[in-house]
């Protein structure tokens, strides 16, 4: 018997605007709770940690913070008597049958809806290579494509890629016993669509249309890199990955270099699907759409959007493995410029902090010098003759 609790379990896929949705939910969690929609998260990556915990998935050391987080999240979900609860993280797409079952069981007698946002493979394949490069990988685009085409999926890249991207398989794993009308497939609109259309689809699917939501200050998140920028980042990885710990790589390389510097260069060529694998991807996409159609899912958007766009073959392809060094150099110069600006900013900040430390030290010294005087005054004030001495002293001071 189900309660009045509805759980929207968003299980993927990566690179489909999930970060933006999660940012909106996180920043509005208090106001949403007042409107009957709960997004239980005490930090922005709370559901990521819960997913790591659920899947026994180490992740560059951060997994230490994940211990017990899925069960804690599930407990909070079960404590809701009436209302909607949203859980969202894209890496949940890679959960095994057993892990998905454990997750579904842990949500108790909820009305569970499985939400899956999806984008066509022609965009997902290059995007996943970029994600690899933004996560310390030095794999070339050609090596990446070879790995994902290995039918045995024995490599780390191939097994992960299909785990989080193979839509019919993800839905099989996550819809164990869930009625098709409670499975919502949200497709990412094709290139050239209105920039707000994806959010409108999320909003409809998640039932957020009539709610008050504040979008101010929310980053659109996770921008893609151009071809020379991705090639440069891979070269940087070759040099720095052996010597940079993940905890340093994350803020300096991924955040500062990739997201805040290289992703801002919007004029360079965008990475596309390699023409050599286009027929294979077309055929695969068609087979997925065939497998998904007729299942009775609630499709927000259209299954045809998961097919490879018809005009893709006519578009130019710039190969990041063979791009001209001149273009990579341009991106490199822009990076050096940004690093210099950052170094100057940090130097100014350091000088300001040094000044503050100097001022605080002086204040501390001054305060210390006051302590004996204060003690003497307090001692005098406790005695009648002391109070008289103080009175005389104050008269003279005037």
């Amino acid at each position: 018997m189900e309660t009045g609790r509805r759980v929207l379990l968003h299980v993927g896929t990566p690179k489909t605007g999930t970060s933006y949705l999660q940012d909106v939910l996180f920043h509005n969690r208090e106001s949403l709770a007042g409107q009957g929609v709960h997004y239980f998260a005490d930090r922005f990556d709370a559901h990521f940690l819960a997913a790591l915990d659920l899947m026994d998935l180490p992740w560059g050391g951060i997994e230490e913070e994940a211990t017990g987080t899925w069960d804690a999240l599930a407990e909070k979900v079960r404590s809701v008597e009436n209302g909607t609860v949203i859980i969202s993280h894209e890496i949940l797409a890679s959960a095994s049958w057993q892990q998905a079952k454990h997750a579904l069981d842990s949500l108790g007698d909820s009305e569970i809806h499985i939400m899956l946002s999806a984008r066509d493979l022609a965009r997902q394949i290059p995007a996943e290579w970029q994600e690899n490069v933004k996560h310390r990988s030095v794999v070339t685009y050609a090596e990446f494509l070879e790995e994902i085409r290995d039918p045995a999926r024995e490599g780390r890249i191939g097994s992960w890629f299909w785990g989080v991207q193979e839509l019919p398989d993800i839905l099989d794993r996550w819809t164990q016993g869930i009625a098709p009308e409670r499975v919502h497939l949200i497709t990412v609109p094709p290139p050239g669509s209105s920039s707000s259309l994806l959010w409108e689809r999320f909003s409809t699917a998640f039932g957020l249309d009539d709610l008050t939501i504040d979008f101010e200050g929310i980053d659109r998140g996770n921008p893609s890199l151009g071809v020379p920028e991705a090639a440069l980042l891979r070269e940087i990885n070759l040099a720095v990955v052996p010597v940079l710990e993940p905890a340093d790589y994350r803020p300096f390389v991924r955040e500062f270099l990739a997201h805040r510097t290289l992703a801002k260069r919007r004029d360079s060529a965008r990475l596309a699907l390699s023409p050599s694998i286009l027929p294979w991807v077309e055929s695969l996409s068609e087979s997925w759409v065939k497998a998904l159609s007729g299942r009775g899912y609630d499709v927000v958007g259209g299954l045809e959007e998961l097919l490879v766009p018809a005009d893709l073959a006519d578009k130019p392809f710039v190969d990041p493995d063979t791009i001209s060094p001149r273009e990579v150099l341009d991106a490199g110069v822009a990076t050096i410029d940004a690093l210099l600006q950052e170094a100057i900013r940090l130097r100014k900040s350091e000088a300001r902090l040094e000044d503050e430390v100097g001022e605080l030290r002086a204040e501390l010294e001054h305060t210390r010098s006051l302590v004996p005087k204060q003690r003497a005054r307090e001692g005098l004030e406790r005695r009648w003759w002391g109070r008289a001495v103080l009175k005389v002293y104050r008269l003279f001071r005037r």
């Binding site: 899947m55 026994d56 079952k101 999926r153 024995e154 780390r156 992960w160 019919p168 052996p242």
Partner: protein, 374 residues
Amino acid sequence: MPATPAPTRGWGWAAHLREGGTTPWTSWSEPAAPFTTAHLPGAEMLELLRRLNEVGPSEPDRVDALLRTSPPGRGRRDLPLLGDTETRTYGPLPVDPATLSERELLRAASVLLAEDLLATVETPPRPRRRWSRRPKKSEPDQQRFPYRLVGSPWLTLPIREELERQGRLPGGDGYTVYVLGGPLDEVAAGAWRFRTFTNRVNPWHIWIRDAQWRGWLGPRADLPRIARWWASRVGKDRVEIVTDPALLPGLLGVDSVPGPWSVSAEGNEVARVIGQVLSVRTDLESQRKLLVDRLRPRLEKLEPLVPDAREVGVPPESLKWVETQARAQRDALVEAGYALHGDPDRLLPSGTATQGPDECRALALALSLLAGRS
């Protein structure tokens, strides 16, 4: 009323294994209806159960617990059985379970092995236990032979623990710092081996490859760095390099010192894969305690029962680089002018082992652990 699922050969094999069967998949033909509402476990879990049944019978609850797990972390899983009723045109390719690698089966075993260790914790983890335990009173020998023993913890930790057990605490007036060295290939292997019990670490062949790429074997295998650090703290004249462990008893004023833990390369690999799961399931200190205090004694008991144990050794493709590193370390220590106990050339690689863990034997150890043979 939901339709009863049709019997399949896969479910038939799973039921056979659940009852303790050992028939390989390719020799199995009987179909059966599902015995649970869950999805048929992947080929990797079923093959692991078959191998476990070959070791000996398991309690039914334990078998079900195994079948409720799936291989953790990254990598393929939920593999369908080749030749079973599979109508899907997507998903991982079906496999003959007999062809799965030992590495995949070991990974499949790691969740239940980790859960076994976690089940031994009766109370919530307590605050961190320090490696050094300090008795209340210092012994006379402590004053006669005040010491600090540093270097690769794989070599020094068992000695330090034994000395402390005898009441010989590190430190004391004017203590001497002994930097225990050895052939660099063994010291490097020791650095990895220690991490398999105390942290999350890559497989040996990747660890040594990355070290070569980085051009550094890390802090635990960098003796000049260790010596320099101590020299800056206590003065160079109180730092001494020991290249021959046989000289240590005389220097420390004891009859003998213990060697490293009696754990093979495969034992390290088992600890490593369990550590991957524990790193998510518990905090680092509890992980260390479980692996060092609970798993290690069990492995030490099992080691003699599983033949062909290997030592961890630097593979031939990295040996030349390690030799260059070793010569540089030797020269740096000699040039720095530290007192030396033993021939400095003992720091050069011994080359006694040239491989990492044997995955087949590592799986055998894991199966013995699962079967409760220690």
